[in-house]
Amino acid sequence: MNAEERLRDPILCHSLLERLRALLGDEPMRFMEVCGTHTVAIFQSGLAQLLPANLTHLSGPGCPVCVTHDSEVAAFLELAENPEVLLATFGDLLRVPGPEGKSLKHAHAHGAQINIVYSPMEALTLAENHPQKTVVFLGIGFETTAPAVAATLLQAKERKLGNFTVLSLHKLVPPVLKTLLDDSACQVDAFLLPGHVSTVIGLAPYAFLARDYQVPGVVSGFEPADILLALCELAKARKEGRPCVRNAYPRGVDDMGNPRACALMEQVFEPKDALWRGLGRIPESGLKIRSQYADFDACERFALTFRPVKAIAGCRCGEVLKGAITPADCPLFGRRCTPQAPVGPCMVSTEGSCAAWYKYVGLKKEAKQ
């Protein structure tokens, strides 16, 4: 067995489940993960169904596609129609419906030039190969993605690629956690902290959870045993009444994060207020390209504005993202809103809460048996 296989070992997982049960006792606990990869891992491994009955799993705003606001979607759909523009995007975004129900897939079918890329650097190559076009890279993602985008933008500057731009819709995790804790509709006892984001930012930005809100947070890896270990730590912190922020994924995450990646992010971006689906405007929760790099900012180049748009009627993605309801509680779920014809973005991305529930649990209201 290699290291990853050991972390899927049924005997290890069952002993951790027993430990979790013992630590929880009869106390109910609601924990939230804020990472799409955790969402999928918990469902895909079958963990969702094995968790103790008094432990409630909530999928928070951890999927970058899901939290992208309608106004932002409307803005990049409009951009796609510009014949001068060649849009470069991660594949996930193609299916996100805009306010009119149309997505980039529709735009592509109508002749918009949209290229799927796997890294921002590929977008740079597109810019080099299409000097007559302006390449707009859709910068969507959390702290995990932003440093690579920053590095790409610096490369573009160095190579004097005047036809490369970034539409920065990046979002930051710690501010949204604070917003959730300030919201009475959101009752979270503990956070399973994201493995990928934490590789970049480390533990310090989460300190306020325990300090100001007495809510524990533990960084977790993605194998079933990783997640169970982190849940045990959370249950222990609750039981002992000693909220703390800890790293239970040391093989992937350094407590200090990745200072080089943070420095890149800092150099190119500055915090700005950002729009989140279902949560609205959150102060300093997004990243804006600094003015000295304005030439590479698609917002500046195309004078983009994020106009208010009509919300999608009946869509309760916002409440799902807050953990106020489960996907199956939404009246559209599995009826008008399915992965074939998604109404809200949580049904679009494979890592979205609703898509994961639909795929792995089906139409049942309860993930556990």
């Binding site: 290699n2 990853e4 899927r8 070992d9 049924p10 997982c13 069952h14 990472c35 799409g36 990869t37 999928v40 469902f43 895909q44 491994s45 079958g46 963990l47 969702a48 169904q49 094995l50 970058p64 596609v65 991660f90 594949g91 996930d92 975004l93 193609l94 299916r95 799927i116 796997y118 969507i140 993602g141 959390f142 995990t144 993605t145 990928h196 984001v197 079933p224 992965p339 074939q340 991305s349 494979t350 890592e351 639909y358 795929k359 792995y360 649990v361 089906g362 048996q369």
Partner: protein, 334 residues
């Protein structure tokens, strides 16, 4: 002749004849094709006949483990074989882009010829069209195959029965991940190869020895989607044991990195076989004795279930739905 294909070659005149003579006749060489009449003259089969057609387009044209040429033969041969038939003849239609590098065409034709020979089928008739540059991406191939049905009750997606055991002929997800890695030039995915292979020999051996209820090749949509189709067609439930699934570590780790699920990736040289429980070991042994079934495994079973669900028993002892693929799998953002 120039190094690149000219529109003339699709005219039906001398240029067309030269193209056919130079690239196809030699690669596909067989007595029926040689006649070069408007149609191929074939001996009739005594029993039932199976027929299947498929259009092939893939980027890149060549990838580790195969090419559009091997796919165009293996894909159709396998589809015909899945009906319990011995594939005999293929037709092929090429739509080629003006300006195509003729060296590429030569390699594709050679791959097709070799694949047909290895599978024991003849390419007996064909057609070539050339379209203006930009109308398509280099080469599209359509092949149609016919074969002789070998058993009285041919396997069918409608014939799964509670109690059946499901045997898969080998590892899953290799082809889909290989294409994705080759298409996007993903350096972090290595050691993956397409499984493109003809399954007719393996199928013939299975049919001779076992009572095969269902036989399917999990191509587009992958293993999970194919199982769901069978569950719905037969109105049965299917349970799969995750820990029994043969998946190469390179595919598992590549998929984990990309946020993909190998159970939804295409396979081009694998089949799923549903047999009565008491024949499962025999079916497994037959598969493993074929060069294309070395990693065959018993992976699940069929049960009564009016809702026709496919359930995955996960490695850690949980259960979850194993649903259909909705659209193309797309790599995740983080």
């Amino acid at each position: 002749m120039a190094d690149h294909l000219l529109l003339d070659a699709g005219s039906g005149g001398l240029a067309s004849q030269r193209l056919i003579g130079q690239y196809f006749m030699q690669a596909f060489d067989n007595p029926i094709l040689k006649v070069l009449d408007d149609a191929a003259l074939l001996e009739a089969f005594t029993g039932k006949m199976a027929m299947s057609t498929d259009a092939y387009t893939v980027t890149p044209l060549f990838f580790p483990g195969g090419s559009i040429g091997t796919l165009a033969v293996h894909g159709t041969v396998n589809d015909v074989a899945m009906l319990g038939a011995k594939p005999k003849y293929l037709s092929c239609a090429f739509v080629l882009e003006e300006g195509l590098d003729l060296e590429i065409l030569g390699r594709v034709a050679k791959d097709m010829g070799e694949a047909a020979k290895a599978a024991g089928v003849w390419i007996v008739t064909g057609d070539t069209k050339v379209v203006p540059k930009g109308s398509l991406d280099q080469i599209f191939i359509t092949t149609t195959g016919i074969g002789e049905v070998l058993v009285a009750n041919p396997p069918s997606g409608h014939a799964a029965k509670p109690g059946d055991v499901i045997v898969v002929s080998g590892s899953l997800g290799d082809h889909g991940l290989t294409i994705m890695a080759a298409r996007e030039d993903l350096p972090f995915i290595s050691d993956v190869r397409s499984d493109s292979a003809p399954l007719n020999g393996l199928v013939e051996a299975l049919l001779q020895a076992c009572q095969v209820h269902v036989l399917r090749d999990p191509t587009r949509g992958g293993f999970a989607t194919t199982l769901n189709e069978i569950a719905k067609q037969s109105q049965v439930g299917i349970r799969i044991r995750e820990s029994a699934l043969p998946i190469h570590e390179s595919v598992r780790s590549g998929c984990s990195f990309m946020g993909l699920d190998p159970l939804y990736l295409a396979n081009e040289g694998k089949c799923l076989c549903f047999v009565p429980e008491d024949e499962a070991q025999k079916a497994l042994a037959i598969m493993r004795s074929s060069p294309f079934g070395q990693e065959a495994a018993i992976v699940g079973s069929v049960h009564e279930d009016a809702a026709a669900r496919v359930i995955l028993e996960t490695a850690i002892g949980g259960e979850r739905l194993l649903g259909m693929l909705e659209g193309a799998q797309l790599p995740r953002i983080c």
